[in-house]
């Protein structure tokens, strides 16, 4: 057994002295995850980050002449922008004057400024119509954030327009029925407008939905950053390549004569092959552990509870090692092994969704990818990233271990047939 450890240690050393191997195992996945994470703005989320919005509300009660402060058009617009439904999308910062708000946009302190004019409520209430323009002042360098805010503002203004029309219609109707008291008519119009707004709000519900992985307890989901979601896919994909480097070493050693020479020593062949297997596992284990730690330190990945993370790292290394050994076991030359391995790994990664992160897996795809151990691992890591626990990863772990056993058995069959 000690000799198997010596063989494994020798192979691990050889692998980690290989610059190309190091680049494949570490630089590739980290670089890709960083690059894709960086491409999504701050890299915080696939969901668009909250747009910092300056709001200047000049539509005051005295000017609106309404009894209810909350029913001024400016207040309603402000309330809409600060509503809980939009809290993840719009972050409001109040400013006193339009000039200050515009300067904040110019200095890139906020992405957009919404400047509500003094006569907005009056303009909405007046007949014939007065004109009051809500200004959306935006930084031309940003597009998504101002577009979102503009859409929200437009939606609220349309809602107000509808309320105004409803109020006018109800007042007109009351007047036609003989009601001439201006105070009562105003009260009817106000109540109608309030009812309209509430009904619209219930009907349209200005909420935005974000999708996450299929998991229980969705209400308590975390929101992992983009880089960590990409890193999971890249890590698992590159783990296969990490495993295939020492696995291909078996064929390299056969060709260079060191494996036959090993077979002339008193070390039994089973121990020699066992040492080789162990080396492949250790190489992948070290690789995945380093990537998980690097993801946490460099990319801010919050992997979740330590226990399930360690379990996934270990079973991931096991299945990557067994997969790498299997693809090498029936190849005749290292070159052939490299070509076959790459094709199989890319196909597996495509099926498993390694190239598009842990989120956004539709229900059908989530089922299809279970034909591959990588798919199960993607599912398990995805659950952990979204706040999952042991219960969420137990089934994937069992499934992956099943794949591992089958792959190891097949690899051993082929290797024994060749070297026994």
């Amino acid at each position: 057994m000690l000799r198997a450890l010596h063989i494994a240690w020798k192979d691990v050393r050889q692998t980690y002295r290989n610059v190309v191997a190091l680049a494949t195992m570490f630089v590739g996945p980290l670089l890709l995850a960083s690059a894709i994470g960086g491409a999504f703005g701050t890299g915080d989320n696939f969901i668009i980050p909250a747009v910092k919005t300056a709001v200047v509300n000049q539509d005051l009660r005295s000017q609106a002449g309404t009894a209810n402060q909350n029913l001024t058009a400016g207040a309603m617009l402000e309330t809409a922008l600060t509503s809980t439904e939009l809290s993840g999308l719009v972050e409001v910062v109040k400013y006193d004057t339009p000039e200050k708000a515009r300067v904040a946009v110019d200095k890139n302190e906020v992405a957009v400024a919404v400047i509500i004019p003094p006569g907005l409520s009056a303009a909405l209430a007046s007949a014939p119509r007065e004109v009051a323009t809500v200004e959306v002042y935006k930084n031309p360098g940003t597009t998504v954030g101002p577009a979102v805010v503009t859409a929200v503002v437009t939606s609220v203004l349309q809602e107000m327009e509808g309320a105004r029309a409803a109020a006018a219609a109800s007042a007109k109707l009351a007047f036609s029925h003989g009601l001439v008291d201006p105070t009562k008519l105003a009260s009817i119009a106000q109540k109608t407008a309030e009812a309209f707004v509430q009904t619209q709000h219930k009907l349209t519900g200005a909420s935005l939905e974000s999708r996450g992985p299929v998991t229980s307890g969705a209400e308590s989901l975390k929101r992992p950053n983009v880089a960590s979601q990409v890193l999971v896919g890249m890590m698992l994909f590159f783990m296969l390549f990490g495993g295939s480097i020492p696995a291909r070493g078996i064929l390299d050693e056969h060709r260079s004569g060191t494996l036959p020479r090993l077979f002339t020593t008193p070390t039994p062949r089973a121990i020699i092959l066992g040492g080789k297997y162990l080396a492949v596992f250790l190489v992948v284990l070290i690789q995945s552990a380093v990537l998980v730690i690097a993801g946490w330190l460099l990319l801010g990945a919050d992997w979740g509870p330590v226990g399930p993370v360690v379990a996934l790292v270990v079973v991931g290394a096991l299945v990557a090692a067994s997969q790498a050994l299997l693809t090498v076991s029936f190849a005749k030359t290292p070159g052939q092994a490299g070509a076959v391995s790459s094709s199989i790994f890319v196909a597996m990664a495509l099926i498993s969704g390694n190239f598009f992160g842990t989120a956004n897996a539709g229900e059908t795809f989530a089922k299809v990818r279970r034909v591959s151990p990588l798919g199960w691992l993607m599912e398990a890591w995805g659950r952990l990233l979204y706040g999952g626990s042991w219960a969420d990863v137990a089934l994937p772990i069992v499934a992956v271990l099943g794949f591992t056993l089958v792959f190891f058995a097949l690899a051993t069959f082929f290797f024994r047939r060749r070297y026994a």
């Binding site: 000690l2 000799r3 010596h6 063989i7 020798k10 050393r13 050889q14 002295r17 290989n18 260079s256 004569g257 060191t258 036959p260 020479r261 090993l262 077979f263 002339t264 020593t265 008193p266 070390t267 039994p268």
Partner: protein
Amino acid sequence: MSASRENAAEAIVVQNLRKQFDPPKGPVAVDNVSFSIKTGEIFSLLGPNGAGKTTTISILSCLLKPDQGEAWVGGYSVTREAEKVKALIGVVPQEIALYEDLTGRENLFFWGRMYGLRGKELESQVEEALELIGLTDRQRDRLSKYSGGMKRRLNIAAALLHRPRILYLDEPTVGIDPQSRRAILDRVKELNAAGVTVLYTTHYMEEAEELSHRIAIMDQGKMIAIGTKEELVQLVGGRTRIELTLDRHADLLAQRWRTLPGVESASAPEDGRLFLLADEASTLLPRLFETAREAGARITEINLAEPNLEMVFLHLTGRALRD
């Protein structure tokens, strides 16, 4: 014979070994080969590439299983007691079977461990081996920075760490400089003087002649002669070896000379140089000059010598060792 053969006088016994690759149509690499090697002997397998030397060593190293026949090493069967055989032998393969990205020292430690050495014994053996092969100063360099000769020496040292009783060397001097070759041959003699039985394969006649107590000549999987150098040379009888160098038409003249009376065989020319095995040199020489002149060629150099192993091979196979 199924049981172990305990015989202190015989280190290796080989009986009717046969090995065919990719049967039934593949080449027969070893064809009914039998020989024995005495304890303390240097025994050489001499033959051209493809003669079956490496396959024979591979069977005796328990790397390959024979199709037929049996072999015993140190009294243990290579087919049934492989682990015991492996503990007795050290194998120096033809290629440099070492790890390029490990240092010389790391390589020796690794191979020592594979032979079961541990702790201080391993360390002292590695230090001693490095000293012996003159690589103490370079021990922490990776193998990729070593010269071919240094690698060859390390290749041998790796097989000696566990002090084997029997050492196999498969063409250990291929592709190295004369100085390193000399060092290796001297080392083999020293090891033998220390009691190590040596099985040595080569296609260099001079090495076999210099080193060996006995030599077996192999060709196309068959053992065609076995004995001491003197015994083998006697197979040629009282014939003379005539070495010639021609300025042109060497191939043509070799063909003609093969048909001359008194010429037993002629080697294929190489750079205008060839040799003949002749019954009576004194009557043949004038004819050689005459036929060369007729062909428009000139003999630029001629030597007469006692027969050697190359002549034996030519005599037995009709081909030179290099052919």
